[in-house]
Amino acid sequence: MSSEKMTIIIDGVQVEATEGQTVLEAAAEAGIYIPHLCHQKELPPGGHCRICTVKINGRPASSCTFPVSEGLVIENDTEEMNAMRRAIVEMLFVEGNHYCPSCEASGNCELQAMGYRLGMINPEYPHLEPKIQIDASHHDVFIDRNRCILCGRCARASVQLDGKRVFGFDGRGLGTRIAVNAAGGLGDTNMSAEDRAASICPTGCLRVKGHGPDIPVGARAYDSTPIGSDIEQKQTVS
C-alpha cells in the first residue's frame, strides 16, 4: 500500500492523514480523540458500538471503519454527536446488568469511563434486566455475560492475536450473546489466561480469575483523567 499523504478536516482543524488509515486512526495520530468502545487499536475494526460515529461530509458513518480520502470534512466533537453517543452508552447500561460498585473492573472499565466522559448521569431508558448465566467453567478465566456489551473484541483478538477461535456470537437481535467454541462452557475450549483475548475486554465481562480490585481507588486507569486523555495528550494540532 502506498503511503500517500492527504489532508482531512476534523471539527474545522486540518489534519494530515495517510492513505490506508481510517478516520479514527488519522484523528488519533493527530491527538484528536473520537470516542469509541468496540474498537481496539491492535484489532481490525468491528463496527459494533457505533460510538465512534462522526459526520463525514454531512453523513453519519463509523470512523473506525471509514477510510480517509483527501478533503473529508468530519464533525466529531459536536453537541449533536456527543448526545447520541451518550444515548448509546445508556443503551448499553440498560441492556445488561452492570453493577459498577461491586465490579472488579470499576475504575478501569471503558464503558464506565465512557459514561463519565460523555456526561451520563443515569440512564433515561428502562433497564431491560435480562436473565443471564455466568460461565465459570474455565479454571482461570470467567465470562459474566451480564457485563458483556457485545463489542466482539475477544472474538477478534482470539483469531487475530492468539491464532485461535475461542469466541463467536450466538443468536440475533437483543438475544445475541457471546458464544464459546465448545458444546459446554469456556472450560471446554483451548482458552488460556495468557491469551490476549483474556485481557482485552473493555468491561468486567471476560476476566482472569483470582483478581479482585487489585489497584486501589485513585490509581485506576480513569480515576484522574477521562478516557481518551492518552490520545489527547499527544495533540499535534491546536
Binding site: M84, A87, I88, Y125, R172, G173, L174, A183
Partner: protein, 591 residues
C-alpha cells in the same frame, strides 16, 4: 443414532463439496433430515466442513428457520405480519391453539405439531397465511383449522389441501416486466454489443434500482465492471422480506426467464461468469420450478459455456436463505451467501468493490434485472419514454390491506396515491403505508403525492389502512417486527429498537405524556442516525412518520401531565393484593 447422524451429515457435506461457504446449505439439508440442529449436529457439521463449532453456531443461531431444539414432525409457521393480522390472523392462531391444545411456540405431546410465528411470507394479498413444512396455505379461516390439524396429526401431506394454493393476483400488466418475452432475445442483442455499449444503453434508459434505494443501475454496473478483482459476480436479490411485499413472488413465478435473462445480461456487462439468485427461505416452494427453468436455459445454450455460440460463459446457482429479513440488505445477503450469519458490512468498501469473496459484485433487485433485460431488447430510449421525471419505466407494486382487489400492479412511475387507491378499489382510507414499515405512513392530505424516487420511493409494498383501523397499533406491530429482525450487530439498532417499542407501548397504553413523545422522537432520531445499516436507519420510521403525519392520533393518547413514571405501583401490587385479599391503594392509581 449418533453414528447414523454422523454419516447423514458427512454425506450432506460431501454433496456440497465440504465447502465452508456452503454452510447454510449444509445446515438446511441437515435440518430437513434431522428436524433440528442439536449441539451434536453443529459439532458434526463443523467437523465435516473443517471449521470450528463456534462458526457453525454463529451462523445457525442467526436464522429463524433453524431450530436448535426438537420440534414436532410438522411445524406450522403462522404469519403475523400486519396485513395478516388485519385480515384475521389472530383468530386463526387461536383456532390452531384450540385444535392442537398447545400455545404458540409449543409442540403437541404426541410430537406431531409445533406452532410458531413468522414474519411476512409474501402472501399479504391472500392473508391470513401460513407455511406448513414449507407449503404455503392461504386465505385461512378459523373453520379450516381443525381439518388442517387432523391432516397433520395423521402425518399426511398438506399440499393436497384446498388451502395449499397460491394465487398470482397479477392484476395489471405493464409494458416492461409483465409483457411477453422471447427467451434469448435480450441476450442475443447484448452479446452483439460491447460491455461499454451495453452499459451506455442502461445510462440512456436511466434505470434505477427497484429495491427502493434507487441507485442508477448503469453506475453500479460500471463501478463493478471497472473494479479490479480475480472474478466478478452477479447477485439477484430475491430475499423480498419487506412486510407487505410480494411482487417478486409473482415475477419469479410469471417470468423467471426474464429474471435469469437479466442476470445473464448483467454478467456480460460486468464481466462475471457466475451469478447467484438468493431466494428467501419462505419461497422454497418455488425452487423446483426455478431450477427447471435454469436447466432449460442451459439446454438452450442461454447459460453455460459459449452462450449463444459466443465466447461468453455464465451460469447461475440458486442460494436458499434460512429466514432473516436483514438478508435483503445487500452486504448482509453477501455474508449469508458466504455461509455466515447475515450481518451487514460497513461501507465503504461497497459490494461493487469488495462483495462476494471480497470480489467486485453487483447485487440487483429481481425487478431491476427484468427491466435491464427489456432495456437491452428494446432500447434505453424506449424505457426512458415511460415514467415520471427522474423515475423512468414502470414499477411493480404489491398492494394489500383494506381494498377490494389486493394484488400486484405494474404501473408507470408517477401514479398518485389517489389514482392507485381508485385502481384497487379502496374507499374511506385513513392511511397508506408506502414502502412497508421502513417507508412512510401518509394520510389523505398527501394522497396527491406520486410513486417515484423523488417523492414516495418504494420497493413495492403498499399497505392500505381503512378508516376504522387502529393505526398506531399497527405501527406498534411494525416496530415489534424490527426488534425481531434486528441482527444484533450494532448497539443503536439492537437495543434501540426494543427501547422504541417499550416507550411506544407506554404511549399506546395511555401512560405517555408530552415529554414521552419528545423522548420517543429523540430516541428515534438516535437509532436512525447511529445504526449501521438500513434496518436500524429506518426502524423508527413507522413511529416518526406517524408522529409527523397523524399528530392528532397521538394527542388523543397522551396525558396532560408533565411526567408519569413507567412504574405503576398499583399494578405491581395487584397480584399480591389479590393473594392477600387486600385492596390496592386506589389513590395511587392513575385514573
Amino acid at each position: 443414532m449418533a453414528v447414523e447422524q454422523a454419516s447423514i451429515i458427512a454425506g450432506i457435506a460431501e454433496r456440497f463439496g465440504r465447502s465452508p461457504a456452503r454452510l447454510i446449505d449444509v445446515a438446511r439439508a441437515a435440518h430437513a433430515e434431522l428436524g433440528y440442529l442439536s449441539e451434536e449436529s453443529m459439532g458434526l457439521i463443523a467437523e465435516a466442513l473443517g471449521v470450528e463449532r463456534v462458526q457453525v453456531r454463529d451462523a445457525v443461531s442467526f436464522y429463524h428457520f433453524f431450530e436448535r431444539e426438537p420440534r414436532g414432525r410438522s411445524v406450522v409457521y403462522l404469519c403475523n405480519a400486519v396485513v395478516e393480522r388485519m385480515k384475521g390472523a389472530d383468530e386463526v392462531v387461536k383456532a390452531f391453539e384450540e385444535a392442537t391444545g398447545v400455545s404458540m411456540g409449543e409442540t403437541t405431546s404426541d410430537g406431531a405439531i409445533s406452532l410458531a410465528h413468522t414474519a411476512c411470507i409474501g402472501l399479504s394479498d391472500q392473508a391470513p397465511s401460513a407455511l406448513v413444512n414449507g407449503v404455503p396455505l392461504t386465505n385461512l379461516k378459523p373453520s379450516d383449522v381443525p381439518m388442517i390439524v387432523e391432516t397433520l396429526r395423521k402425518g399426511e401431506d398438506v399440499s393436497s389441501l384446498p388451502q395449499a394454493k397460491v394465487t398470482m393476483n397479477l392484476l395489471k400488466r405493464g409494458n416492461v416486466v409483465f409483457s411477453d418475452m422471447d427467451p434469448g432475445a435480450a441476450l442475443g442483442k447484448a452479446l452483439s454489443l460491447t460491455q461499454v455499449e451495453l452499459i451506455n444503453e442502461m445510462t440512456v434508459s436511466r434505470l434505477r434500482g427497484r429495491g427502493g434505494a434507487g441507485f442508477p443501475t448503469s453506475m453500479k454496473w460500471n463501478f463493478c465492471r471497472t473494479a479490479k478483482g480475480e472474478a466478478h459476480y452477479v447477485v439477484c436479490n430475491a430475499d423480498e422480506g419487506e412486510p407487505g411485499t410480494f411482487k417478486d413472488r409473482v415475477i419469479l413465478t410469471e417470468c423467471p426467464d426474464l429474471v435469469f435473462e437479466g442476470m445473464t445480461v448483467a454478467g456480460y456487462a460486468i464481466g462475471a461468469k457466475k451469478g447467484f439468485l438468493y431466494l428467501r427461505a419462505e419461497y422454497e416452494y418455488m425452487l423446483a420450478d426455478l431450477e427447471a427453468v435454469l436447466a432449460k436455459r442451459r439446454e438452450a445454450g442461454l447459460l453455460g459455456k459459449h452462450i449463444l455460440g459466443k465466447d461468453f460463459e455464465f451460469d447461475i446457482r440458486i442460494q436458499m436463505g434460512a429466514g432473516a429479513y436483514i438478508c435483503g440488505e445487500e452486504s448482509a445477503l453477501i455474508e449469508s451467501l458466504e455461509g455466515k450469519r447475515g450481518a451487514p458490512r460497513d461501507r465503504p468498501p461497497f459490494p461493487v468493490q469488495k462483495g462476494y469473496r471480497n470480489q467486485p459484485t453487483s447485487v440487483n433487485n429481481v425487478e431491476t434485472l427484468c427491466c435491464a433485460a427489456r432495456i437491452v431488447e428494446k432500447g434505453g430510449a424506449w424505457f426512458a419514454a415511460m415514467g415520471h421525471r427522474d423515475s423512468k419505466g414502470t414499477k411493480a407494486l404489491s398492494i394489500s390491506g383494506d381494498c377490494e382487489r389486493p394484488g400486484v400492479y405494474e404501473v408507470d412511475y408517477g401514479i398518485t396515491i389517489r389514482e392507485l387507491l381508485d385502481m384497487v378499489g379502496a374507499h374511506d382510507v385513513q392511511a397508506v403505508q408506502v414502502g412497508g414499515p421502513s417507508g412512510q405512513c401518509i394520510g389523505p392530505d398527501a394522497f396527491g403525492r406520486r410513486i417515484c424516487f423523488d417523492d414516495l420511493a418504494t420497493g413495492g409494498s403498499i399497505i392500505i389502512f381503512g378508516a376504522d383501523r387502529d393505526l398506531l397499533e399497527y405501527m406498534r406491530q411494525f416496530t415489534e417486527f424490527f426488534t425481531e429482525e434486528s441482527c444484533g450487530w450494532c448497539v443503536p439498532c439492537r437495543v434501540g429498537t426494543t427501547l422504541l417499542l417499550k416507550e411506544y407501548e407506554k404511549i399506546l397504553e395511555g401512560s405517555g405524556t408530552k415529554s414521552d413523545l419528545e423522548a420517543l422522537k429523540k430516541l428515534g432520531t438516535t437509532v436512525k442516525t447511529m445504526s449501521r445499516c438500513g434496518l436500524g436507519q429506518t426502524a423508527a420510521n413507522p413511529i416518526l412518520t406517524t408522529i409527523q403525519n397523524f399528530p392528532g392520533l397521538y394527542e388523543a393518547r397522551i396525558k396532560a401531565d408533565e411526567f408519569i413514571p413507567p412504574f405503576d405501583l398499583a399494578k405491581a401490587l395487584e397480584e399480591g393484593c389479590a393473594v392477600t385479599g387486600r385492596n390496592p391503594d386506589l389513590e395511587e392509581k392513575d385514573v
